[in-house]
Point group: C2
Chain length 259, copies 2
């Protein structure tokens, strides 16, 4: 028992999501698996925490695997905080989040509950990886990702990660034989162009649906978008020191303290 790593697993699509079930299956081969995941889908939840409401967290059995599982009413970040600070009696050796149904490449990292859970684990000093597949379908096929999920997780278990860094791993929607390998990338400078869908409810009140299209004007071949478009698994090191260190000198020259 002692030699097997303790692996914390979570996601943002909810505890019954096929992507999470695939991730648990792979992790059961690598260590003792402990799951705390949201009881319902929480995509786009970002780094939200529940500070003004109660949080439920209940032991649950979903399938026949060896893992221990809890389902929580909290956000993905709440799930990590609960697992690490309340439920587990020792610090996990690694935290893996996902496998997300849909891309968390480029700027999506910032909106993603899956990646925010990984970042929260990183803040708590736990090596952490978020996994996502470029397929939003609930019935998405995760088979081709499993070999890579296992390899990347084992590598991090063996070597750890640089301080203050977690991994954002995205998989192209390809068969395993068509995936060319893994590329270490930077986050592409891409963004969403919103296009709100304005409607009127049965009581005559206007409301909106958020929609939009993803725009990538970053032509660099070292980006996650390039890697994914060219058949590679993208791996971006992500940090939570958000300081733009390169901007400090420039800002100091602007004279904020002048009269």
């Amino acid at each position: 028992m002692k030699d097997r790593p303790l692996i914390l697993v979570t996601n943002d699509d909810g505890i019954t999501a096929p992507g999470l079930r695939a991730l648990i299956e792979v992790m059961n081969e690598l260590g003792d698996v402990f799951v705390v995941a949201p009881d319902s889908p929480q995509s786009g939840t970002g780094h939200a925490i529940t500070s003004n409401a109660t949080i439920y967290c209940t032991a649950i059995t979903i399938d026949e695997g060896d893992q221990i599982e809890y389902s929580s009413s909290g956000t993905p970040v709440d799930c990590v905080k609960l697992a690490v600070n309340e439920i587990l009696n020792r610090k996990p050796d690694i935290c893996v989040s996902g496998i997300n149904h849909g891309s968390n490449s480029s700027i999506n990292v910032i909106y993603s509950g899956t990646m925010s859970a990984a970042v929260e684990a990183g803040i708590e000093g736990i090596p952490a990886i978020g996994f996502s597949l470029l397929d939003y379908d609930w019935e998405a096929n995760f088979e081709a990702t499993k070999k890579y999920v296992k390899k990347i997780t084992q590598k991090v278990l063996d070597h750890g990660l640089p301080e203050g860094v977690v991994l954002n791993v995205n998989f192209p929607k390809l068969k395993e034989k068509d995936i060319k390998g893994i590329r270490i990338c930077r986050q592409a400078k891409a963004y969403w162009e919103e296009d709100f869908d304005k409607r009127t409810n049965p009581n005559g009140k206007q409301y909106y649906w958020l929609s939009g299209k993803f725009v990538n004007k970053d032509k660099g071949q070292d980006t996650d978008e390039w890697a994914l478009a060219n058949g590679y698994v993208s791996l971006v090191p992500v940090m939570f020191d958000l300081t733009a260190h390169h901007a400090i000198q420039k800002l100091n020259s602007l004279g904020f303290n002048e009269k």
Copy 2:
């Protein structure tokens, strides 16, 4: 009209929050003010977006000021997206968010709806600033912040900001005469130690309240925590390219593509 800047104002404490009202008052001196803010408090909402639910957004009058205001059921990030992409007919010259009731220094930047709104504006290419006062009280006194809020906003209107950078400004809870000035800082490496409060509901089911204490082991004198503890306004340049560029070489050396 044309010479006056268009200023987008939002927050995460909700449209009636005294901190927002103080910010609007200052902004009315600097330009044409357009407010889209949440209809209820959304602290700790992070960079959440509303992708699976409807969003309401309604014109509203709260006080006698010159500003135009909308109240929205969305998150702070939704508010910025709605304002920029749906309601306004031109891009704002600046977006200011806050003044938050409570600190958004150090790691709090990542949980903060106020700062996430500013970051979202930054992603949309708008110079943006989040303001926060180290006083969680709803009745907090924002008088001492106003001179600085005006000066910093004017400076950004005059000079812009480096690409991909927004500002995280925090104010110590001090009288104006006791504030020593502004310091450009880095985000302190501090974090929260959670301490969940476990209770039982009237039906016998266990639930939790998230609580915790803030721990700062970063002794640097160039951090926001140091500045605030020593009577300064802290100003941290924040970026949304989360790539840990310094870690790419190290990761490349780990051999992720080995058999």
